[in-house]
Amino acid sequence: MAFKNILKQDENKRCLDSYGKVVKFQEKLNASVTMIEPELENVIRGKLYKIPYALKDNISTDGILTTACSKILANYKPVFNATVYDKLRKEGAVLISKANMDELAMGGTNLSSYYGKCYNPYDLKRISGGSSGGSAVLVSSGACAFSIGSDTGDSVRKPAGYNNIVGVKPTYGRISRYGVIPYASSLDHVAYFTNNVKDSAFLLEILAGRDDKDPTSSFENVDNYASLLSDDIRGKKILIFKNVIDSAKSDVALEIVKHFNNLVVELKNKGAIVEEVYFNNDLMRSIFPTYYIISNCEATANHANLDGVRYGSQIQKDSFEDIVITNRTIGFGTNVKKRFIIGSYGLYEENQEFVLKKAQKVRRLIVDEFLNKLKNADAIIAPASLSVAPLVDDKGNFDYSDEYLIGENHMVIGNFAGLPSITVPMGYVSNLPVGVNITTNVFKESTMFNIAYAIENITGIKDVIKEDF
C-alpha cells in the first residue's frame, strides 16, 4: 500500500499536523512561501484522500499566490489551476504549502529565491538544493507526505539526493505542464518527491496522462506502476555511467563512489547484468554549456510576458517602455537578469547560428550518444551528485573540472532526451545523505521504479524523516 505511514494516522489530524509542522519548521527551513491552513470539509474521497502535500510555487493555483519566488509575481494570484493541481484535488489530496524555490526555477541551490534561502534539515548550514528546494525539504522533514516540483536540469533529482528522499522526473510529456510557470519549455518536466519508491510509483498513476491543454503531453498509456512494482531485477541490464565515476577526484566524491561501487556489487548479487559504459567525454563536458544556452534562450522569451501590464508587479509609468523597464528592473533578481542576458545574446540573429543552433546540435549529439548505448539496456545508473549538499556560504565548485561539468551535470541528459529518471537514497557521507540516479528509456517508468525499488531494498533507506534540526 502506498502512503502507508500517513494513512495510518487520523485523516484530519494528519492534515492539521502537516500544517503545524510546515508552520513550525518555517523559521529554520524557510521551505514555504505560502502556508495554507487546511479546510477539511468537502474534500473529495479520492485515491489521495486527505494526504497533505506541497506544490512548488511555480504551479498555478486559482486564487492562491503563485510567485515562482520572483518579486515580479509577488502579488500574483492565478485565475486558473495547473492541471497537476486539479488532478491532485480531484483525488482528495490536501494542499498545505506553496514551496520555496529558486527564482523562476533558475538555479540549483534555492539561494536565489525572492523569499530567501531554503535550508537543509540534515544540516541547517547547508543548502536544500534546488530549484525545487522547498518541495524537497518539506518531504524530508516530514512536514508533507509528498510534494510536486519541476525539473529542467535536475531540479528535483539533485535535491532528492541532498535530502535523503525519492525524486522522480518521468518521460517528457508524461505529466502535463499546463499551468506550471516555465523555465525552459523543451526541458521542463513536472517532477515530484516522496519518502519511498512505492509512493512515487503510485503517485505517477495519478499525475500522468494526456492533457489537451498541453499539446506536448503524451497519449501513451499510463501503467499501473504501483501494482507492477517488483524488486526482481534478475536479467536486467544496468549500465554504469563511467564518465561520472571517473570524474570523481575530491575526497567526498571518492567516498560517494565507494558507496556506489558497493551498491553495484549488491545489484549483481540480485541478478542484474551490470556493464560499464563510457561516453564521448567531450560531449559529456559539453552538457553544462549546452544546457545553459538552450534553457536561457527559451527562458528569456518565456518570461517576456512579465511586463508589468496585466498581472504581478504593476508599477505605473507614462509609457509602455518605461513600464516594462521599471517593473522588470525591480522585479527580477540578479541571477535571473544574468540568465536573460545570456539567453537574449544567444537569440540575436547574428549569434543564433553559433550559439543557440550550435547548442541544439550538440544537444542532439549528446542524446544520440546516450540513447545509442541505453537502447540496448534497461537502465543507466550513477551517483546523483559527486558532492553532499554544499554549504550555504560555499561559492560553488565552478572550476570546470570534470567532477563539476560531468559529475554535477550528467542528470541534465534526462532533460535533453526527456527520459524517465529517478533519484533514491544511497547512503551517507559524514552523516549527510547522498543519492543514486537511475535513468531508463522513454516511457519505461515501470522499469525505472523496479530498479529503484530493488536499490531501496538493498540500502534499506526509506521513509527517513529528519525532524530534529
Binding site: Y76, P78, P215, H303
Partner: protein, 475 residues
C-alpha cells in the same frame, strides 16, 4: 523621367473560426471588451498554446485556392518583441516553414491575363486592439490570439490598378472559400503595400516604402498612385527616397509619414518549443482539397457553359458573395438560370436597395424565389405581375398565396377561355360585325371584354388566338 514601379502586397487575413489560434476562447467580434479572452490570451504564466485545427484547415484551403505548395510538417516559431498589444512578449508565427509557398493568381488587365505570384502564406496569431483616449491607452484583448494568415505576394505589380485588381481578386476568392469575412474597414482583412521606384529598365531596386493598413480597395489604388507621384518628384529632384512606413490619409488623399525605419528590427525568431512539429496526414490534406469550395474562375466557366449566362450577368452575380450565394441556393430548385439571373439582377437587387434589406435579412426563401420564376416562365403570371408579386414576397409571404390572393394566376384552360369567348361574342354582336367590316379597334375591344370577364387571368396569347378562331366562325 520615367520609372518602373515595383509593388508587393502583404495581407493579414483574420480566419473565420469559432475559437482562437492557440486557445479555446471564442473569436466573437462585437463582444464587450476583454470578455472573449481566457488565461492563454492574457498570457498568464504557465499557459500553453494548442493549435486550432480549423484554422489550419482554412489556411490549407487558401493555399489550394492559389496553388501553393504545402508544407506537410506544420511548425511554428516565436517572433520576439515587447509591445503592449502583445501579451506573451512574442507572437507565435511561422517564420521558417510557412504552411504554403509559391502560388499565384491571375488578374485581368486591359483584357489580358497577368500572373501575380504569391511568395508564401503562413499562420499566426493576432495582437490585442489598442485605443488611445486623451493621454491614456486602453487595451482590448478580445482580438488577441485570433487566427490570422499572412499572404505575401511577390513584387509583381506595377500600378495602383494592378494592385487593386490583385486584392480584389484575392478578396473575391477568399470570400467564396468562406475562410474569412474579408471586411477591410473592420480590419478582418488588412493590407500593407510595399512600393519602390527604379529607373526604367534598371535591375537595381529603389528604396522601399511601406504603406500600412489600407482599408479599402479604392484606397489601395489611390494611395499607390499618390505614392508613385511623391516618389517620382523626389527622384526627379535627384533626391533619395527614405525607407519609411507611411499611412494613407483619406481626407487629403495623400500618404503621410508614420515612422522612419532605422535598420532592421531583430525579432530573434526561434522555433516555438511548446508546439512540436505536427505532421499533417495525407488524408487530412486530401480531405481539405476534395472539399474545397468552388472558386470564382470555375464558377464563371460553369455559369457560362452550363447555365448559358452571358459575361455581363455572370459578372453581376459574382461581384458580390451574397448575390452569388443566393443565386446558387435558388438554382438548387430552378431550371431557369437566365430568368433567375434576370430576376435577381434587374428586380430583386433594386427592391432590396430601395427597402434597405440585406441578404442576411431577406425573407424570400430560395425555393419561393424559384417558384416565382417558374410562374413567370410558364406564363402563369405575367412579367409585370411577377414584379408586383416579388415586392410583396419581401414580407416573407408564400408566392402562391400572394398570386392566389391577388387573383393573378393566368388561366390556360382552353375550354374555360372558349366559354368566355362565346359569351363575349354573344354579348358584343356589334363589335363582331365591326371586326368583320375591318375595324381593327374592334378586336382590341373584344380582347378587353374577354380579359374583364376572366378578371385578367386568361392567358393573353391563348385568349387572343381562341377569340380570333371563333370570330372566323361568325363571319
Amino acid at each position: 523621367m520615367n520609372y518602373d514601379v515595383v509593388i508587393g502586397i502583404e495581407i493579414h487575413l483574420e480566419l473565420k473560426t469559432k475559437t482562437k489560434m492557440f486557445s479555446s476562447a471564442p473569436t466573437t467580434f462585437a463582444s464587450k471588451a476583454n470578455s472573449a479572452v481566457n488565461e492563454i490570451d492574457f498570457a498568464f504564466p504557465g499557459t500553453l498554446p494548442s493549435v486550432n485545427k480549423e484554422a489550419v484547415k482554412k489556411a490549407l484551403e487558401v493555399c489550394f485556392a492559389f496553388g501553393l505548395e504545402i508544407d506537410k510538417l506544420l511548425k511554428f516559431d516565436r517572433k520576439n518583441y515587447f509591445y503592449s498589444d502583445l501579451p506573451k512578449g512574442f507572437q507565435i508565427t511561422q517564420q521558417f516553414f510557412p504552411i504554403g509557398r509559391n502560388g499565384k493568381l491571375n488578374i485581368k488587365i486591359d483584357g489580358a491575363n497577368k500572373e501575380i505570384r504569391i511568395n508564401r502564406i503562413h499562420l499566426e496569431e493576432d495582437t490585442a486592439k489598442q485605443f488611445h483616449l486623451n493621454d491614456k491607452t486602453y487595451i482590448d484583448f478580445n482580438r488577441a490570439g485570433n487566427p490570422l494568415i499572412e499572404i505575401v505576394s511577390e513584387a509583381d505589380m506595377s500600378s495602383g490598378l494592378e494592385a487593386s485588381l490583385y486584392v480584389e481578386k484575392l478578396r473575391q476568392t477568399l470570400l467564396f472559400l468562406g475562410v474569412s469575412d474579408c471586411r477591410m474597414e473592420e480590419g478582418s482583412m488588412r493590407c500593407d503595400v510595399n512600393i519602390s521606384l527604379k529607373e526604367k529598365g534598371s535591375s537595381t531596386f529603389g528604396t522601399k516604402v511601406e504603406i500600412k493598413n489600407l482599408n479599402s480597395i479604392s484606397n489601395i489604388k489611390n494611395a499607390i498612385e499618390y505614392e508613385i507621384l511623391r516618389q517620382s518628384e523626389i527622384l526627379n529632384k535627384n533626391e533619395k527616397v527614405t525607407q519609411e512606413t507611411r499611412r494613407f490619409d483619406e481626407a487629403t488623399q495623400t500618404t503621410v509619414l508614420m515612422r522612419k525605419k532605422e535598420g532592421n528590427v531583430d525579432y530573434k525568431y526561434f522555433p516555438e518549443p511548446n508546439i512540436k512539429p505536427i505532421l499533417l496526414s495525407d488524408e487530412f490534406i486530401k480531405n481539405v482539397k476534395n472539399n474545397l469550395k468552388e472558386l470564382p474562375d470555375s464558377k464563371i466557366e460553369r455559369y457560362s457553359q452550363v447555365y448559358g449566362l452571358n459575361d455581363y450577368d455572370i459578372s453581376l452575380i459574382l461581384s458580390n458573395y451574397d448575390v452569388m450565394d443566393y443565386f446558387e441556393k435558388v438554382m438548387v430548385f430552378s431550371n431557369n438560370p437566365k430568368n433567375i439571373s434576370n430576376l435577381i439582377n434587374s428586380e430583386l437587387l433594386g427592391l432590396m436597395t430601395k427597402n434597405n434589406i440585406k441578404f442576411s435579412d431577406l425573407k424570400i426563401s430560395p425555393k419561393n424565389f424559384s417558384r416565382l420564376s417558374d410562374l413567370i416562365v410558364g406564363q402563369e403570371i405575367s412579367g409585370k405581375q411577377g414584379k408586383e408579386v416579388l415586392e410583396l414576397m419581401l414580407s416573407g409571404d408564400d408566392v402562391d398565396v400572394i398570386v392566389e390572393t391577388k387573383g393573378f394566376k393566368q388561366i390556360s384552360d382552353e375550354s374555360f377561355i372558349l366559354q368566355a369567348v362565346l359569351e363575349v361574342i354573344d354579348e358584343q354582336k356589334q363589335s363582331v360585325i365591326d371586326y368583320h367590316n375591318g375595324k381593327d379597334r374592334a378586336l382590341g375591344f373584344l380582347v378587353g371584354q374577354l380579359m374583364k370577364k376572366t378578371k385578367g387571368q386568361a392567358n393573353p396569347a391563348l385568349a387572343s388566338s381562341i377569340l380570333k378562331k371563333e370570330l372566323e366562325k361568325f363571319k
